[in-house]
């Protein structure tokens, strides 16, 4: 009975454990190739454009409405105990410490992570990755390093935009729509916001960016089984990246915001 239970647990964790192991080996290979010339500058800029610049419209919309609803909910809630003066602080702290990095990461994962897994998966099943190797080109260096670096660089950049736009959304609702004092809102924003809040938020964003890019590339790179396999890789990339972002967010926050 006990042996059967252990066997069942073993069978349950075998695949995820294998996946984590292979993903770590891929990470090692990526880190090794980042510092090894030639550097894929053109490819890195192409990916930065794809992950960062092309994600801007959707990130902007998300940021402004998140800031707005946060202000709206806080204002109406806090009014019950006369604390509506703290709305600016709540919006600023929530956006910089938590919502900016996490929402940007989830949105970019849904957009760019899915695209990465689908593109690399298609390249795998149509032998384009093998073709790269026969052309004396390391596919990790050529395909994955630029995506990994772009994820780690562009997600903090998007988070800065999300933070600013979110705070502006909060200002718009609190001051323009609900008629609170502009001066009081801005003072509440700046008085309680520390530089460390922003830095730590950006550190989380950098980690999320690297994580979603690595996981999405891993899923695509090892896809097999034709179109169905590419579909599975794409879904897996979004699900596993999102879970990783949400779970690691707790631990990173506990560590960074001690």
């Amino acid at each position: 009975m006990l042996i059967k239970l252990i066997e069942a647990i073993g069978a349950f964790i075998e695949k995820p454990a294998e996946g984590i192991g292979r993903c770590m080996l891929l990470l090692y290979s990526v880190l090794k190739h980042i510092v090894k010339p030639p550097f894929e500058i053109r490819n890195i800029f192409k990916q930065m454009l794809e992950i960062g610049v092309n994600s801007l419209p959707v990130v902007l919309v998300t940021a402004i409405f998140t800031g707005m609803v946060l202000a709206l909910q806080s204002y109406t809630g806090f009014k019950r105990f006369g604390a509506e003066g703290l709305v600016g602080s709540v919006v600023a702290l929530s956006m910089t410490r938590e919502l900016g990095p996490v929402l940007s990461a989830l949105i970019v994962t849904g957009r760019a992570g899915a695209a990465m897994a689908a593109e690399l998966g298609t390249m795998r099943v149509t032998e384009q990755i093998d073709a790269l190797e026969t052309l004396a080109t390391n596919p990790v260096k050529y395909l994955i390093v630029p995506r990994f670096l772009s994820g780690a660089i562009m997600l903090p950049a998007l988070t800065v935009v999300t933070d600013i736009i979110g705070i502006m959304g909060g200002y718009f609702v609190t001051v323009i729509l609900l008629g609170a004092s502009s001066k009081a809102y801005l003072r509440a924003t700046w008085d309680f916001l520390k530089q460390q809040d922003i830095y730590n938020g950006l550190t989380k964003a950098c980690f999320f960016g690297a994580a979603f890019a690595l996981i999405s590339c891993y899923k695509g790179f090892y896809a097999k089984g034709g179109a169905e396999g590419v579909g599975r890789a794409t879904t897996g990339a979004v699900v596993v990246s999102s879970m990783t972002i949400l779970i690691s967010d707790y631990f990173l926050s506990a560590w960074l915001f001690k």
Binding site: E127, Q128, A131, E133, T134, L135, A136, T137
Partner: protein
């Protein structure tokens, strides 16, 4: 030039190669024949180091591939060109960028120079004027020819062909065979092709080797293969469903 000694390979417990021995001399054209799923592609991928054998040795120009690190293997791969069954063109790049990919990465040529060279190679395979098209705009035969132009772009010593005529109409298949012969004559390359198209095999091979049950069961000139009394090879070259090679759902 190329030697495979006692190559064993299995995938997730399924044995594919069970001691393959094959020797290819410089300038020779060897065609490996065998049924679908017999491990022909796996064999070809061992020659260029895309797969590593579980046991056995692959040597190219007297270099044991297992002794090479990643850089060494990449250096060796510059001597190779490979035409894939599906052509494996990079679909995000134009035709000339596909053909010039190796040149762009491994030489100091400028983009216009790479394009000029790509256009020359495309002309060699009969595709003048296609350089600015995208792979999605090409027919199957054109894709194969672009794949071939890409394979010869770095002027390799060895060309590997994975099912070069599969999926093509008979006329286009013959045109590809003619191109393979032309490449050999003009570029003096050593070639290894895998196929189950016997017409193509007879046409392009100096030596034909039959892969069956994970080993090479017979090697000979096209004439010797045509006249063999080996029942397995006879069944394969005559394309009969009934015989020693058992097809699921068919009697012996």
């Amino acid at each position: 030039m190329i030697e495979l000694i006692d190559i064993h390979k299995s995938f997730e417990g399924k044995d594919v190669l069970l001691g393959v021995n094959l020797k290819v001399e410089k300038g020779e054209s060897v065609v490996v024949i065998g049924g679908s799923g017999s491990g022909k592609s796996v064999l070809l991928k061992h020659i260029i180091g895309l797969l590593k054998p579980d046991r056995g040795t692959v040597t190219v120009n007297s270099t044991d591939l297992s002794t090479l690190d990643e850089d060494g293997l990449n250096e060796l791969r510059k001597k190779f060109g490979m035409l894939f069954q599906s052509s494996a063109l990079f679909d995000s790049m134009k035709v000339w960028e596909n053909v010039g990919f190796g040149l762009k990465r491994h030489t100091r040529l400028s983009d216009p120079e790479v394009k000029d060279m790509a256009v020359q190679k495309l002309k060699m395979v009969g595709l003048s004027g296609a350089e600015d098209l995208m792979p999605s705009e090409l027919s199957g035969g054109m894709r194969k020819r672009v794949g071939l132009a890409r394979a010869i772009a770095m002027e390799p010593e060895i060309l590997l062909y994975d099912e070069p005529t599969t999926g093509l109409d008979p006329i286009m298949a013959d045109a590809i065979d003619e191109l393979i012969i032309k490449m050999r004559e003009e570029l003096k390359v050593t070639s290894v092709a895998i196929t189950h198209d016997m017409k193509s095999a007879y046409k392009i091979a100096d030596t034909i080797a039959m892969l069956y049950n994970g080993v090479i069961i017979l090697t000979g000139t096209p004439e010797e293969i045509k006249n063999t009394s080996d029942p397995v090879v006879r069944q394969f070259i005559e394309g009969r469903a009934v015989g020693p090679i058992v097809v699921e759902g068919m009697g012996r």
